[in-house]
Amino acid sequence: MMCARLTGKGGQLLTVILSSLLLFSCVGGSNTTPTGTPISITLLPSANTVSLGQSVVISANVYDQSNQGATWALNPVNFGTLSDVSSSSVTYTAPTDFTLPTKITITATSVSNPNVIASVQISVSPIIVGLSPFAPQTINAGEQIGVFPNVQNDTMNTGVTWSISPASGAGSLIDASPGGVTYVAPAIVTDPVMATITASSIANPSARSSVEITALSSGAGPNVAAVRVDGGPVTGSGRQNAAFTSITICNPGSTIVCQTVDGILVDTGSYGLRILQSQIPLLKLPTLTDGSGNALENCVFNPDGTFLWGPVAQADVNIGAQIAPAALVQIITSSLDQPPDGCSQGSFINLNTPELLGANGILGIGPEPTDCIVAGKNLCDGSTQAVPPKVYFSCPKNGCLNSDQAVFVPRDKQVTNPVTLFGADNNGTLLQLAPVSTPQVKTFGTLTFGIETEVNNTLGGATIYTTNRAGEFTTIFNQQLLTSSFIDSGASEYLFPGLMPTCTVNTNLYCPPGLRNLVATNKGSTEGVGDVAFSVDNADSMFASYPGYTVFSDLAGHNGTYNTCINGEGACSFVWGLPFFYGRAVYTQIDGQRPPFGSPGGPWWAY
């Protein structure tokens, strides 16, 4: 083929002339050819693209003195069929049961001289089914929501059929037609129920698309995501006291090339979405590079010596009906290559599997806008210091060297809290979980976007606790003034400097002899004072008594040594972990986003 001279006309006519003379001169072979005018083949397909089940006729104009015509071949061999085969034409019919766009090649070979060949490439398009809405939604008991298909390449216009799973107990479908369907939530909902609505192409049932709709007893809406505390995505190794949601990630600008990923940890203690590469195999997200093609990599180093490592990429992040377009996210790489020592600190583990991470991703929705900004200062862009922190690295295209150094990165290249990118309902979040008193297998809640922007996110009677601008307030507990306290849904426990005995098995946790009922006082920097009652029970005995349970309201652990917080240094932090959210609506106002009218400047918390 390297000697073929190709000419095209209007994109429809593809002529391949391959004279034996050219072949001889090019290949340098010794084949003999008939004397006189060289043999040539010109192929003329009736179309260059077909959809499933469609046919295209390819005519061959063979210039051949002996008039023997051509034989035909198809590659890939079994992708569709050739029929009506003659020496001068063939009919190609696309298959009906494929879902990926494919290019096929039809080759004509001269009978007189098998060295003379011509080929034509034809794009075969599958039926693609999209849905609106396509990201996981919530809906209140008894309410309805329309679901509409967006079907591409359905040339016969056969449309879709609808199904719901589970078939009973999770609401029903009415008014199903090729143009759409209406989902009706159950009239009464106690625990949230999730239904998966699927549209399947009639022409090709393997072309289908689904949307998850969760029916809640109340509080649902387009700005609400369902949350589960159920151990997360790792069967047999559930994570305790961790709130998970589902999000849909799309190639930027696409509503079709998308993947819905469940098991996303909802974390008010970090900023930005971080997702396992292994969970989005169908997406090709554009990664950030500099002018020389070096990849921008992101590093999060955890207090326990583990880290998250991977490139910064652009993705449309859909949660409920909210969309963060072209959000910068961290893709936690599946690669086993060691990151630079500046991130890995030499020997530690990238949490790049669901088993290691205990989640499929982390949705960081705390009170800061990026993973570098605190108290209004950008610590990674060079504006505040001479040395870049070990958060962003620039790595050569073919991989990092372990000596690669951290680099400064401007704000518009930093991993960003996706809430700040929503078109509306973008000034904060409201995370609430059902009340819990005894250990449970699982429980539920909601993540609502915006504060005082909709009827479902009003502050009501919640008290605002202002912070030191770094999102921290003061907790007074057991005669200690803990001045760097924080609300962290990504922490599974209450963490504080205390005097309780350490567990024998779970050595990070407290094991009092029996249930302890305690009270602490939270105090905002300029406003907000209130007592919080909480309980701590023996972690070792709870875990032993309730194997497989994932909801423990009375879990607490060490956070430094008792009474060592002096002038802001030492053990100065009471971490209000996930148990704080049981039976409570907790608002996080994000720094730099407009707080509700009449409320103090952010960031702040309210509950």
Binding site: S403, G490, E569
Partner: protein, 163 residues
């Protein structure tokens, strides 16, 4: 070589020291850093290498050298009157270099970290054995921790003095 010498300012470091000096450093069993269990002789060098500001305060039984790095991480080294670092503590928006701070104790932390269950909370770590008490905690943009060797505490000094 890098593993011992990586710092927030590795580039500057390699400019200041010649390659042969680095190799020599690598060959020494203990890097000349004021890490836990090490000696205090190099605190000035640490300061230069980290481009940190240094504040030293003495109590009679020990001296606290407080280094503040340009990225806002505060590292305190607790040095006995004999010149030995018996404790380190840190606080700031980023985690410090633990291999550098923990020195020969780093391996204990490393293996304890690896032994943790996959689903454990990652923002909180406690380790206590005869030669190393370590607490490390925090969330994004606010980390703190401390480590000391109970057997190195000067007389009359308690673990809680390292903070």
């Amino acid at each position: 070589m890098r593993k011992k010498c990586a710092t927030e300012n590795g580039r500057k470091y390699s400019v200041v020291f010649s390659a042969s000096a680095l190799i020599l450093l690598f060959m020494m069993a203990q890097p000349a850093l004021a890490s836990l269990g090490g000696d205090a002789a190099s605190i000035q060098a640490d300061q230069a290498r980290m481009r940190a500001t240094l504040k030293s305060t003495g109590t009679g039984t020990f001296t606290v050298h407080e280094l503040t790095t340009p990225t806002g991480v505060v590292v305190r080294q607790y040095v006995s009157s004999a010149g030995r670092v018996f404790g380190v503590a840190w606080h700031g928006p980023f985690m410090p270099s633990l291999p550098e701070l923990l020195g020969s104790y780093f391996r204990k932390f490393s293996s304890a970290s690896k032994a943790r269950r996959g689903t454990a909370t990652r923002n909180h770590f406690v380790l206590a054995d005869r030669h190393l008490v370590l607490e490390s905690a925090g969330h994004m943009l606010d980390y703190s921790g401390r480590a000391y060797d109970p057997t190195l505490l000067p007389e009359g000094v308690h673990g809680y003095d390292v903070r």
